[in-house]
């Protein structure tokens, strides 16, 4: 069943072709009339002040780090889930211990206030 890689590649090609073509078409067909007002970024009608790449809250960074941690831990569930029936009670108990520690980590993050937005 190695044939599916060919199918994947073909899918990618066509999936890239459709938006690529349409975006290309719209750049050709559309008119181009740039006026000073149009060139400004739209910020609710006010003239923009300062550069757009502002600093934004560190909260987003914390969410990203937490995501990284938990996502890696979630991935550990997948091999176990596939072999769930073969690993039987041993695997289940091991996974319960693992889940306990992941749960403790979540509890810790929760109590430390990482999950609060204000």
């Amino acid at each position: 069943m190695q044939g599916y890689w060919l199918a994947i590649v073909l899918t990618f090609l066509i999936a890239a072709l459709i938006p690529g073509l349409l975006i290309f078409l719209s750049t050709i067909l559309g008119p181009k009339r740039l006026t000073p007002e149009k060139a400004l970024p739209f910020e609710c009608g006010m003239d923009p002040s300062g550069p757009a790449r502002e600093r934004f809250p560190i909260k987003f960074y914390l969410v990203a780090v937490l995501f990284l941690v938990f996502d890696v831990e979630v991935v550990f569930f997948y091999p176990w889930a596939v072999l769930y029936k073969k690993l039987a009670i041993f695997g289940l108990l091991e996974m319960m211990v693992f889940t306990l520690f992941v749960g403790l980590a979540l509890l810790y993050a929760w109590k430390e206030g990482v999950l609060e937005w204000r």
């Binding site: 072999l83 073969k86 690993l87 041993f90 520690f101 403790l104 509890l107 810790y108 109590k111 430390e112």
Partner: protein, 483 residues
């Protein structure tokens, strides 16, 4: 597909599990109750429990065949040493962190995690576990170094340590991958058997791998070409953590290097003796000469700790049973000296300020008699004056080098000790000189003073009567495969 269930022997790793559980419990208690005292008590309890468990493990040799961990006298010896270092660090920190505004709830559990990293590091029998534990140790250390959020030097030190440490880790990991490529395994036992029958110490690839691993590990022990971070980080870190970093982390990596050279890399090692000789000489000389020029006591001790890494490298060069014993003895002695020196500095703080500048130490003995006496004993020991533990350590080290035929190295070591005498004694004399300005006295907590005094007494006791420790070390070294 059949799945072979691993035979899990929990008893062998019980101390590590205890430390892990108590560290996690400490963090959770901090999150829920915000009580520094409780976190301190829990962390200390975890360390003491693990210590007792290890003591019961002593003498019960058992390498886990095909497993990741070794439990033998060698690892048990070091594990006990790390736990004692951690206990001492915690006791020395108790008052200090209240004084200097360290985020204390995470401080103690992080010490536990760092200790866990050291414990796993010496016990690891697999390159991957080795890397994981070295990262656990390092990451905990990065945070501990930066735990004084209000002081910008602390932040700077943490950032510097993190960036350069990550760089070193990359080297280490790349070296591991090359070794894996050359031998087809990450297990120490399998690497050794794969390298056993090869001429010329194995393929060229393995030497590149070893060189890269050496960069990574050399960074962690602040060996000379890779020592740049040490003075800044030691200076910026909270003082008890400086002690912890310069003793625990360094000794853990040294213990690992000794095991690596003994066990998997014994064959290619023969071609690396010269390199280690050069590193040893460079570390000793540069460390001592640079320490001469320092006006900041913490930086001075940082350079001196680089020099001490050089002394321990003498044992790595000599590398026989005698040298191993000398190395273990010197590491133990150095742990006590390092903790004492940095502990005394931590306890000399006046209010929120610490005394770093060498001028601050003028006439200190009249206001802080205990700290001054202990620090003097410690400095004498660091210099290697007879009747102190430092002398015994250096004596064994140099005689091991001479017996193995590295007379030149021993001579350089002795000369370096002579150089170091100048700055150690300089600081000591300054403390006993007449004070130029009146120094206000500060009350200090009993626990810290007691811990420092105990360490000072230990230095003297080991200097006069080292044979029990030597007996224990002989047993620990005997657990390793014959060289």
């Amino acid at each position: 597909m059949d799945i072979a269930f691993p035979a899990v022997n929990l008893k062998g790793v019980l101390p590590q599990l205890v430390v892990t559980s108590f560290a996690v419990a400490g963090l959770l208690v901090d999150a829920f109750y915000r009580s520094t005292r409780m976190v301190f008590a829990i962390s200390l309890l975890g360390l003491v429990l693990a210590l007792l468990l290890f003591l019961s493990n002593w003498g019960k040799d058992g390498v886990y065949e095909g497993a990741l961990l070794a439990v033998d006298n060698y690892t048990v010896f070091f594990n006990i040493l790390f736990l004692l270092i951690a206990v001492a660090t915690m006791l020395l920190s108790l008052h200090y962190i209240d004084l200097t505004g360290v985020d204390s709830g995470k401080y103690y559990p992080l010490i536990l995690f760092a200790t866990l990293g050291m414990m796993l590091l010496v016990s690891s029998m697999d390159l991957l576990l080795m890397f994981l534990s070295i990262e656990l140790l390092s990451v905990s250390m990065y945070i501990l170094v930066g735990s004084q959020r209000e002081r910008w030097v602390s932040n700077e030190a943490a950032m510097k340590y993190l960036l350069m440490g990550a760089f070193a880790s990359a080297f280490l990991l790349f070296g591991i991958s090359l070794v894996f490529g050359a031998t087809g395994s990450t297990s120490f036992i399998k690497i050794e058997s794969a390298l056993g029958g090869l001429a010329g110490g194995g393929p060229f690839l393995i030497h590149i791998g070893i060189a890269m691993m050496l960069v990574g590990l050399g960074f962690k022990i602040a060996m000379v070409p890779f020592h740049m971070w040490a003075p800044d980080v030691y200076d910026g870190a909270p003082t008890p953590i400086t002690g912890f970093l310069s003793t625990g982390s360094k000794i853990a990596v040294f213990a690992l290097i000794l095991r690596l050279l003994m066990n998997p890399f014994s064959v290619p090692y023969s071609q690396w003796v010269v390199a280690f000789w050069v590193f040893a000489v460079l570390s000793m000389t540069l460390g001592n000469v640079a320490a001469l020029l320092q006006r900041n006591v913490k930086r001075m001790l940082a350079y001196s700790s680089i020099a001490h890494a050089g002394y321990i490298l003498i044992a790595v060069v000599a590398m026989d049973g005698r040298a191993m014993e000398a190395a273990l003895l010197y590491m133990t002695v150095y742990a006590i000296m390092g903790l004492t020196a940095f502990g005394c500095i931590a306890l000399l703080a006046k209010g929120e300020e610490e005394r770093f500048s060498i001028e601050d130490y003028t006439g200190l003995a009249y206001n802080y008699p205990l700290q001054a006496v202990v620090l003097s004993v410690c400095l004498l020991s660091l210099a290697g004056i007879p009747l102190t533990a430092g002398f015994i350590g250096k004596f064994y080290l140099f005689s091991a080098a001479v017996k193995s035929g590295f007379i030149g190295l021993a001579v350089i070591g002795v000369l370096n000790s002579a150089i170091s005498l100048y700055y150690y004694l300089g600081l000591m004399l300054r403390m006993y000189a007449m004070p130029t300005v009146a120094v206000e006295g500060m009350g200090h907590p009993l626990v810290g003073k007691l811990a420092v005094a105990l360490l000072g007494i230990l230095i003297l006791v080991l200097g006069i009567y080292p044979s029990p420790l030597l007996g224990v070390i002989k047993e620990a070294v005997a657990a390793l495969p014959a060289i």
